[in-house]
Symmetry: C2
């Protein structure tokens, strides 16, 4: 895959009327405290409450544009991708079946069915994956994978494209890493518009497969479900397509759970938007990066989404993190 | 006070460049579930995170316009009004002293000082009020009260004015009642633009002084601090100016704490913005009102703000309210 900024622009034009051009937020107080200019792309205000709507909707629109309209769409996910594929299938009026583990949060299962998809609950993540591979072999069924797909990657890249169109060149862009789709798309968009802009990834320390893969220069797979509040970054391994992009990142940070909780609380407090912990990963990476800078920088933090289940929410707000003001 | 829509327009022009024209949000899912068209004016995105910025900033701008620029501004509040006066004084470069009870949340005290105000902590609410009255007698000191003031009322009214300018005529407007400033301003704006639009208030059942005052046709004062999560509606009594407006309301609802918690969780979940419990009051009132309607209605819910302290936040998210889907 050798995508360029032209591909991002094609995709942006393709999905422009279907997705939200989400707002770019700032906090004058945070900027004062940190001494840098920080912009937040709030993908919580995207359709289904997360950036995943972009990739799912682009993939279906692209299939239709190429006369490959499927009769049935399937996906496997316990999170935002499930809702994204359900929503996107609905707007193109194509039946969808989403395979989800039965331990997924009720509110996410409910949301996925609300978009009209048929939800099939399986006993384990392994069974979910097995099911979707089996079903994808059927005629006229199209499987939209969560990240390792050219059109999914290009769709996710439109978030940073929109941001830089709006605020101009920045010194660095920070995004969280699950399977690497968002970071791959962000790389194509940011470097395509401004070659000097750094693109920097962040992952939970407790789910550091991408970081390990980059260090060993070969894809590493976690052997068990990682213990992290960042449910958007729990992926066991990156894909072969996304890995080639991740190798081009300027830097990569591993983030502790406590740091993620700290920024989830503070960004909620300062920006007044719902922040899912995965979104807070990039902010801590940005903080650590800013500590190393000698001049004032202009940066973008990609807030991945705003979908949080009850148990995660209670863990985030257990202790009061707002007693300690952010500083570098 | 005989204010009209012309006064609101004058105020809107006066403060237009200083305040945010906050977004109007909708949830297609909520509209589907309820069968009505519901718009939310998100004052959490206002300066200082609440509508109070409007009234505070208008009062100072009006004083200056009338050659009465004070040398010192004072206010008494434990909540959003404290931050609003601190912020507004700062933009006009006037020193401010805010008297707050020492049991106010640390994050609110911190925010108030962050805007550059001198914060004086007092042992009780009574001492706070005593102090501010005493200080207000000094020369060149101006006291901005939280609601019972013509210019404060007109400032708060710009929120509904902006909303109706943006979305056109609606069947009803819902706003929470603390001291009645927001409702009074909303009445002037809504009835001035569209005489047929209903303006409806909501108050916690546990702090129902305004409701009792309307029933008895004379201002009733609570004798002790009410037990409610809606800290923006804990005011002990409405004012003589606001009471005259409240008498003109079309309806008034008393809301249970559990109903407030339910909508705080659901509106956070659906709109992806931080919702303070006071904001959820109007939604429950709207729900009860919609249950009585035979035709589809178009309504506005005024979300007062997004400032929540840690203790309140934990109380809101104790139980999972997202298991029961909203319906009429």
């Amino acid at each position: 895959m050798n995508a360029t900024i032209k591909d991002i622009i094609t995709v942006k034009n393709r999905i422009n009327k279907l997705i939200n051009n989400t707002p770019v937020l700032t906090s004058s107080m945070l900027n004062k405290w940190l001494g840098h200019e920080v912009y937040f792309k709030a993908e919580g205000f995207q359709k289904i409450g997360a950036f995943k709507a972009r990739g799912a909707c682009n993939t279906i629109a692209w299939l239709i544009e190429n006369n490959q309209r499927p009769n049935h769409i399937i996906a496997n996910s316990s999170g935002n991708h499930a809702q994204a594929v359900a929503w996107a299938s609905k707007i193109f009026d194509i039946p969808a079946t989403i395979y989800m583990p039965d331990f997924s949060s009720k509110v996410k299962i409910q949301a996925t069915s609300s978009y009209g998809a048929n939800v099939v609950l399986c006993e384990s993540r392994a069974m979910v994956d097995e099911k979707v591979i089996q079903e994808s072999k059927k005629d006229d069924v199209y499987w939209i994978p969560p990240f390792n797909h050219e059109q999914v990657i290009l769709g996710q890249g439109t978030a940073i494209y929109e941001t830089l169109q709006e605020i101009g060149e920045v010194d660095a862009v920070f995004a969280p890493c699950g399977g690497g789709g968002l970071l791959s798309g962000s790389l194509i968009a940011a470097k395509g518009l401004f070659p000097k802009t750094k693109v920097i990834g962040a992952e939970p320390l407790n789910a550091n497969d991408a970081s390990m893969s980059l260090q060993k220069n070969t894809i590493q797979r976690l052997t068990s479900t990682p213990q992290t509040l960042a449910d958007g970054a729990m992926t066991l391994a990156v894909g072969d397509i996304t890995f080639e992009y991740l190798k081009k990142l300027d830097e990569f940070y591993e983030i502790k759970e406590s740091e993620m909780i700290y920024w989830t609380q503070w960004l909620t407090h300062l920006l007044k938007v719902r922040i899912e912990p995965t979104s807070a990963l990039s902010m801590e990476a940005a903080k650590q990066w800013m500590q190393k800078q000698s001049k004032k920088k202009k940066i973008v933090i990609l807030l991945s989404g705003s979908n949080i289940d009850h148990v995660t929410n209670q863990k985030i707000w257990k202790d009061d993190m707002l007693l300690k003001k952010p500083s570098l």
